[in-house]
C-alpha cells in the first residue's frame, strides 16, 4: 500500500535536498522569468513586423530612345518616361519602400552594375528595374512589366521585400487611376495589433523556455541521488519515491511558470482567450517537461550521460517543433516524431489561446491538450518501468 504520510516525508526530503544547493534552486526559479522579462521587453519595444520599409535601388531604362513598328503596322518611337517618373515618385513617397539610389541608364550606363554592388554590400534589399517600354505600355494599355532583383539570401525578408514592392505598385495604380485594379478590403483577424510582437512571440518563446527550464530542473533528480539505494532499504517504496519526486518538482515547476506568467502579464502580454486557460496550457507544457526530464534522469547512468541525453532531446525537440521548418513539409515519419515532442503541440496551443481566444479544449486545442497530457502520462509510465527495473547497489 502506498502511504500518504511516507510520500509527504519523501517530499520534505526532496525539498531539503533542493535546499542544500540554494544557488541552483534560486537560479531554477529566477532565471526563466528573468530571461522572459528581457525577451518580452525587447518584443514590446521592437518595431512592427508588418510594415518594414524595404530599401531599394531603382534602375530606369525607360528614358532610352527606341523606335520600331508593331506587326499591325503601328510605328512606335518614343522617349516617353513620364509613367516611370511617377512610379519612382510613388516609391520614394511610400512608407513601404525607401529609394536609396536611382540610376537613369541614359545618364549612368553602368547603373545596373552599381545597383548590383549595393545589393552585394547589403545596402539595399532589392533592385527595381523599369524597362524601356514601361510608360508606353501603360499609355497603350498593354501589360506593363517591372523587373525586381531581390536579395534571396534571407527567405523571411524576401517575402516582405516582394510584398512591399507589389503593394507600392498597387498604390501607383490607385493614385493614377490605372484601371482596372483589384481593391482589397482586408480584415486581419486574431492579431494583437500592428506594433505588438509580444503576443505572437510569446507563443514561441514561452514553451521553448518552459521546456528548457523544466528539463534542466529534473534532469539530475534520479541519476544524481546517491542515497537512493539506501533509501530503498527503508519502508519507502519505489512508487512512493517516484511520486514524491513528481510532486516536489511539479510544485517547483508550477511556481516557475507562475513567475513567468506574472512577468509576461506585467510587461503587457494580451491574451485574447482566458488567462486561466493560458496558464493551464503553460502548466501542461511544464508537466511534459518534468515527465521527460525525470525519464532522462532514470535512464542515464551518469550525470554526463543525462546531460547529453538532455541536449540531444532538447535540440531534436526544437528542430521538429515547427518553429523553423513547418511540420507539414516534413516526411510522414518525421511528422510523427514531431508530434511526439511537446513544442509541436505547445506552440499552436498557446498561440490559439492568446491570439484567437480559443478555449483549452475548443476545436484543434482539444487535440493539442490531450496530446500533451497523454504523452506526459506515457512518459511517466515509461519512467516507472525503467525505475522499477533499474538495479541499485548500496
Amino acid at each position: 500500500m502506498v502511504s500518504l504520510q511516507r510520500i509527504f516525508k519523501l517530499v520534505i526530503k526532496e525539498l531539503y535536498l533542493l535546499k542544500s544547493d540554494k544557488r541552483a534552486l534560486f537560479m531554477a526559479i529566477l532565471l526563466p522569468p528573468l530571461i522572459m522579462a528581457a525577451f518580452s521587453s525587447m518584443a514590446i519595444l521592437s518595431g512592427t513586423t508588418d510594415e518594414n520599409t524595404v530599401n531599394i535601388a531603382v534602375v530606369n531604362y525607360d528614358d532610352l530612345y527606341f523606335n520600331y513598328t508593331l506587326p499591325n503596322g503601328t510605328a512606335i518611337g518614343s522617349t516617353e518616361n513620364s509613367w516611370a517618373q511617377i512610379l519612382i515618385d510613388t516609391m520614394a513617397n511610400s512608407s513601404l519602400t525607401r529609394v536609396k539610389a536611382y540610376y537613369n541608364i541614359n545618364i549612368t550606363p553602368y547603373g545596373m552594375l552599381y545597383a548590383r554592388q549595393l545589393l552585394d554590400q547589403q545596402q539595399i534589399d532589392a533592385i527595381v528595374s523599369i524597362p524601356s517600354e514601361f510608360s508606353e505600355a501603360i499609355e497603350n494599355q498593354f501589360p506593363a512589366i517591372i523587373e525586381v532583383v531581390p536579395d534571396g539570401s534571407d527567405v523571411y525578408s524576401l517575402t516582405t521585400t516582394l510584398n512591399n514592392i507589389q503593394e507600392v505598385i498597387t498604390e501607383f495604380q490607385q493614385l493614377n487611376n490605372i484601371t482596372p485594379y483589384f481593391q482589397i478590403e482586408e480584415h486581419v483577424e486574431f492579431s494583437t495589433g500592428g506594433g505588438d510582437l509580444l503576443g505572437s512571440m510569446s507563443a514561441l518563446s514561452v514553451p521553448f523556455l518552459i521546456i528548457g527550464a523544466t528539463l534542466i530542473l529534473t534532469l539530475l533528480v534520479v541519476v544524481k541521488e546517491a542515497p537512493l539505494a539506501r533509501l530503498l532499504m527503508t519502508p519507502a517504496k519505489k512508487s512512493e519515491i517516484l511520486l514524491s519526486k513528481y510532486i516536489t518538482y511539479g510544485g517547483i515547476m508550477a511556481f516557475q511558470i507562475l513567475l513567468i506568467f506574472i512577468v509576461n502579464s506585467i510587461i503587457g502580454l494580451k491574451v485574447a482567450g482566458s488567462l486561466l486557460d493560458f496558464f493551464v496550457a503553460m502548466l501542461l507544457v511544464g508537466f511534459y517537461g518534468i515527465s521527460l526530464g525525470i525519464l532522462i534522469s532514470a535512464i542515464s547512468g551518469t550525470e554526463i550521460q543525462a546531460n547529453e541525453y538532455f541536449l540531444g532531446i532538447f535540440l531534436i525537440s526544437v528542430l521538429v517543433s515547427g518553429m523553423f521548418v513547418p511540420v507539414e513539409s516534413m516526411a510522414p515519419w518525421l511528422q510523427a516524431l514531431a508530434y511526439a515532442f511537446p513544442l509541436a503541440h505547445a506552440v499552436p496551443l498557446l498561440s490559439n489561446i492568446s491570439l484567437k481566444g480559443l478555449g483549452l479544449t475548443y476545436g484543434p486545442n482539444l487535440l493539442y491538450t490531450c496530446s500533451l497530457l497523454g504523452i506526459s502520462l506515457i512518459l511517466i509510465l515509461l519512467t516507472t518501468i525503467v525505475f522499477y527495473r533499474k538495479k541499485y547497489e548500496v
Binding site: 537560479m27 541536449l311 535540440l315
Partner: protein, 374 residues
Amino acid sequence: MARIWELVQKEFGRIKSDRKGLVMLFLFPLITIIIFGFSSGGGYEIAYTVSIINQDAQVHGTNMAQSFFLANNTMTVISNYTSQTPSEFQMAFEEAYQMLKNDQIEMLVIIPDNFSSYVVNGSNPILIIYTDGAGMISSNDLYLALTEPFLQFKLLENNWTGTILMLPYLEYDVPAGWNQILNYMAGLMIPLIVLATSMNVSSLSIVTELPLPRLLLTPANRRDIILSKFIGYSLIMVIQVLVVFLTAIAFGLYIMGSPLDILVTLLFAGLCGVSLGIFISTISSTEAQANQFFIGVFIFLTLFSGAFIPISDMPAAFAAISNALPFAHIIPLFQNIAFRGAHLGFNHVYPILIFCVVLLMLALIAFRFRKMEV
C-alpha cells in the same frame, strides 16, 4: 607547454572513462543534424489554404473563384461556397470563419455580389479578404500571395488592361534542385547545434572534476588547468564540427563560397561554445548550477540571436546586447559565405574572437578566486 600537454592527455583520459558518454558526444550532434536534414526534405513552398464565398453568380464572379483554383502554386482552395441570399451568406461565412479560427484555412475570400458589374463597367472590382493574423506569413504577404490568382483571372477574362506585372529574379538564393529549407535554415540551425553541443560538454568540465584540488598540489597551476581544458574540449569540438559539417554536406548543404570558410565559421561557433562552457563551469559549484547556467545562457543566446526578432528591429540597447553575442556574427558570416560566395569577413570574425578571449579571461579570473579544499 609539456605540463599543459600532459593535462590535455589527462582530460582525454577522463572523457574516455565514460565510454557511453563519449559515444553520445559524437552521436547526438550526428542524430540532430540527420533529423534536421530530413526535417527540411521538402521544397520551400508556401501554399495558402483558402476558402471562397462567391456572392456573384455571374460569369466574372465565377471566373474569380475559378482563378483561385487555377493559382495552385500559391493557393490551395479548401472550400468554395456560392451564396445568393443573405441567409446563405451568413451560414457560409460562419462556417468559413470557424475554419479560419480552427487553423483549417489561412485566408477567407469573399467575392461580393457587385463584382461582375464592376468588371463590366471597367472600374475596380472589390474583394473582401479575411486573413489569420496569428499566422505571421499570410497577413504580411497578402499582396504577393494574391498576384497569381489575379493573373489567372486576367488570363481567364483575356483582358490585360491595367496590368502591371512584377517579375522577380532572385539573387543570392538557393538554386533550384538544392534542398531549399535545409539551406535557408542552415545558417541558424547548424551553428546552434555546434554551439550547444560544445558548450554542453565543457560546462561540466571543471565542476564535475573531483580530484581538481589535489591537482593544484602538483606543479600544475590554475592557468595551465584552464588552458588544458580549453585545448582538450576544443579538440573534441573540432571532431564534433567535422561530423556535423560532413553530414550537412551529405544532406545537400549549398555553399557558394569556400567550404573551408564555412568549416572555419562552424569552428568559431564551437570555440564560442567551449569558452562559454568553461566559463559556466568555473562559476558553478555544483552540476545542477552548471546545468541551470547552461540552459539559461543557451535560451538567452537563441532568443537574442535575431532569429525571433531581427536585430535591426530591436531597440538600440537590446541590439547592442545582441551584437555582443556570437550569433549576431556567426549567422551572417555563414549566410554570406554560403549564399553570396563571400570570404571570412573580419568585421564578424573579430567580435567572435573577442567574445572567446574575454570569456576565457573571465574563466581564468573566476577560477583563480575559486576556493577548493582537498
